[in-house]
């Protein structure tokens, strides 16, 4: 269990420097690909393969006998949920998921612990799931829905997903939370003395209480499915009419704090597109990029969970985005420094102003004994895709280099670097999006696309997809004035 404390908190804080050595994001995704290939389920959700690919040995029995064992082990009562996920285990499962795309950086024993912990969570029995539907929606599933599939099609972090057809004939995915889990995890996150003790060792130079607050807020938000429904519906609305980005609509009348119902969408998994043509993968990569930065700069929202399981691919660059449980909202004021940093370094090539923007946002201790060039060089890797207007292929090596730099404590700059609380989740752009693009070997002129999206530029379309966006762009609301004026 060596390093467990440190690793767990590193996942949260993204400051795993003390434990994370060389991070090979590439290998991790390679394994995901294998697991996903075993998937029978068509609907992708986080951890969706838990029941099939990486399940414990007992589950590995073939066919019918596996089904039987799975049902025999199912959680039948709220007490079973407590025994399985109470006393920090639910929190650890959640942390493990948050870390899933950097976990090659974790000690093997820590990775194993987190993986096995996920495996140890069996599905709810059909009766327990039906009980949750009844408690939340006011009737048993076969009365609330036209058709209800009692077998879950996938596991979510703190619940499971069932297929159903509504009375109106709409095929939906219904995410049902485990009973009592929200209260248990909230209690564990309200008693933070253990977490604080762990963090003090891990990240002594960081604002420990701030990190814990951020973690608690994000996880508690995710426990309330109404927040997820609101986030998802908002993004669904914003991207309505977009040529390649789509977010399934929420069925509001069938969504509550513990149950969330959305349109059922099927499509290819991340693993499947490995066999697609490079041109197709490039288009999908472009859509991922546009989605992340348009959400960030235009909706001021970032999905903190860029897990490969959260995308469905339809060809022609069309992608469906799923699972908005961990969305961080920013104010334009929060985002302004990020945009200024990009502008200072990439557009104006002005390391002095770049540094001033970093200090202003709290990323760098003011007055650190470093030259502007040292600071710029240290962070340049994060901007490598957009330094110049040219076609760039994202590689796994690049993604690994980003992660290594992120966790690099040895450089003279590292000791003066900080991650202000409101940007903690944002680091997942670097760790998650680039890992996916690298795995896809996606090629594009990312800088030209960024110029289209940067509110202070709003450059004309640089690609066919950009041109296809024009009608959608014309119909959407105006951007925040603060962001259009970044200096």
């Amino acid at each position: 269990m060596r390093g467990l404390w440190r690793a767990l908190l590193a996942l949260v804080a993204g400051t795993a420097a003390t434990v994370v050595g060389l991070v090979l994001v590439r290998r991790r995704i390679g394994r995901l690909r294998f697991e996903r290939g075993l998937a029978a389920a068509q609907l992708a959700v986080r951890g969706g393969l838990r029941y099939a690919g990486s399940a414990p040995r007992l589950f590995a029995a073939a066919g019918e006998s596996r089904e039987r064992l799975r049902n025999d082990l199912a959680m039948q009562t709220a007490d079973d949920v407590t025994a399985t996920l109470g006393t920090m285990k639910g929190v650890m499962v959640k942390l493990g998921q948050m870390a899933s795309y950097v976990d090659d950086g974790l000690a093997p024993s820590v990775r194993r612990t987190l993986g096995r912990l996920q495996d140890s969570v069996p599905p709810m029995s059909p009766e327990l799931a039906a009980g949750m539907i009844e408690a939340e929606l006011g009737g048993p599933p076969d009365r609330i829905f036209e058709r209800w599939d009692p077998e879950p099609i996938a596991a979510a972090s703190i619940g499971q997903v069932h297929r159903a057809i509504t009375a109106d004939g709409l095929a939906v995915a219904v995410k049902v939370q485990y009973p009592g889990i929200a209260e248990m995890m909230a209690a564990d996150l309200d008693n933070v003395s253990l977490l604080r003790r762990m963090l003090r060792v891990t990240a002594p130079s960081q604002d420990v209480d701030g990190l814990i607050d951020e973690l608690r807020e994000r996880v508690l938000e995710e426990l309330d499915y109404r927040k997820e429904a609101v986030n998802q519906q908002r993004l669904h609305g914003y991207f309505a009419g977009h040529p390649t980005i789509s977010v399934p609509a929420i069925v509001a009348e069938l969504s509550t704090r513990r149950v969330v119902t959305s349109e059922l969408v099927t499509g290819a998994r991340f693993a499947d597109i490995a066999s697609w043509s490079q041109a197709e993968r490039d288009l999908a990569g472009e859509t991922l990029y546009r989605f992340v930065f348009r959400s960030l700069y235009e909706v001021h929202a970032f999905n903190g969970d860029p897990h490969p399981g959260n995308y469905l691919f339809h060809g022609g660059g069309k992608v469906t985005f799923l699972d908005f449980g961990m969305v961080k909202h920013f104010t334009p004021i929060d985002l302004l420094p990020l945009m200024q940093m990009a502008r200072n370094l990439c557009v104006d090539d002005d390391p002095g102003r770049f540094r001033a923007s970093l200090e202003e946002a709290g990323f760098l201790v003011p007055g650190a004994p470093l030259s502007d060039a040292e600071v710029a060089d240290h962070l340049a890797v994060f901007y490598q895709l957009i330094r110049r207007s040219e076609s760039v292929t994202v590689t796994s090596d690049y993604a690994s280099a980003v992660v290594r730099r992120f966790f690099d404590v040895r450089s003279p700059v590292a000791q003066y670097a900080r991650i202000p609380r409101s940007y903690v989740i944002l680091q997942r752009i670097n760790l998650g999006l680039f890992a996916l693009l690298g795995e896809m070997k996606a090629t594009a002129n990312w800088r030209a696309i960024a110029e289209e999206i940067w509110p202070f530029m709003q450059a004309p379309p640089s690609t066919p997809m950009g041109r296809d966006e024009l009608p959608w762009l014309a119909s959407r609301p105006a951007l925040a004035a603060e962001l259009t004026q970044a200096q």
Binding site: R2, G3, P56, L73, T87, M92, S120
Partner: protein, 294 residues
């Protein structure tokens, strides 16, 4: 002063011993069976606290302590000794009858050779003495109940009585006549009270328990959690035991209790991460559920 080996690998070796002791396709349901309280008792978060508390109490009988001190050689391999004890307990609880009896007869055979004179009291001891075996038994049963009460999932009163009664068989296995063994909470409490005059903290007890409370060589994370287990075990001791050792009674605030429980939860998750442990627990759950259905 004896040389001790360090305690590296404690979790891994205990876990391996546990996993191997839970049979995959047993011919019978063993001494207790899947409907027993004994089965339900196992696997509680509080188990490490119960184990340490039991050792602390057992060591206060100078003759029992002398037998361990002079014969078991546990200093050379303390982790192996603890793992062997976990394996024994798992085997007599979940193993087939034959396996339980074989394990017990091995223990009885070893006990035959353990005799001597306790340097502290000057008394003769024999490990096969039913009085000593009963002391060890009673301390363990009491600790399992108390640790659970304080840090785990408390038992219903009736379940506690049933558990104590079920466990009479375990004492018989190592050679204590059933008539001597407390079979209810009241008689267990009576027995523990009556034993008090024989108890003392011998130098051997002080030294050995000093090691157990602060074992060298633990992985850094486990060493951190061990502080919680140690505090929990000392809190859970009866006042007279703390006095014999000269430990101050730590104050257990609700917040501190919570922190300890969380640390035990993390430790349990780590235990679960060891090879075979999850499968072993699933085997137990499946059999318990089948027993409920039947």
């Amino acid at each position: 002063m004896n040389e001790y080996a360090d305690a590296a690998g404690l979790v891994a070796r205990s876990a391996a011993a546990y996993a191997e002791s839970i049979p995959a396709e047993p011919a019978d349901d063993g001494l207790f069976g899947p409907a027993s309280v004994a089965w339900r008792m196992s696997g509680d978060l509080s188990s490490p606290v119960a184990g340490l508390r039991a050792l602390l109490i057992q060591a206060l009988h100078p003759l029992a302590m002398a037998g361990v001190d002079q014969h078991s050689g546990w200093r050379a391999d303390p982790v192996g000794r603890l793992a062997a004890t976990s394996a024994y307990l798992a085997t007599i609880t979940f193993g087939e009858r034959g396996a339980a009896e074989r394990a017990a007869s091995r223990v009885r055979r070893i006990h035959q050779r353990v005799t001597g004179v306790d340097p502290f009291t000057g008394g003769d001891y024999a490990a096969s003495d039913p009085q000593l075996l009963l002391w060890v038994h009673a301390a363990l049963i009491d600790s399992n109940i108390v640790a659970r009460e304080l840090f785990g999932t408390p038992l219903q009163d009736a379940d506690a009585d049933s558990y104590i009664e079920e466990m009479v068989v375990a004492a018989e296995l190592v050679g204590v006549p059933a008539v001597m063994v407390p079979a209810s909470r009241a008689s267990l409490a009576q027995y523990l009270d009556a034993a008090r005059p024989q108890l003392a903290c011998s130098p051997a007890a002080r030294e050995s328990m000093g090691y157990l409370l602060d074992p060298p060589g633990l992985d850094e994370d486990l060493a951190d959690i061990w502080q919680d287990i140690r505090e929990a075990a000392i809190v859970s001791l009866p006042e007279w035991a703390r006095e014999l050792y000269g430990y101050r009674a730590p104050v257990l605030t609700p917040a501190r209790r919570n922190e300890i429980r969380q640390a035990l939860g993390v430790l349990d998750a780590v235990f679960l991460g060891e090879p075979g442990v999850l499968e072993a627990r699933q085997r137990i759950i499946l059999r318990m559920r089948a027993a409920v259905r039947a």
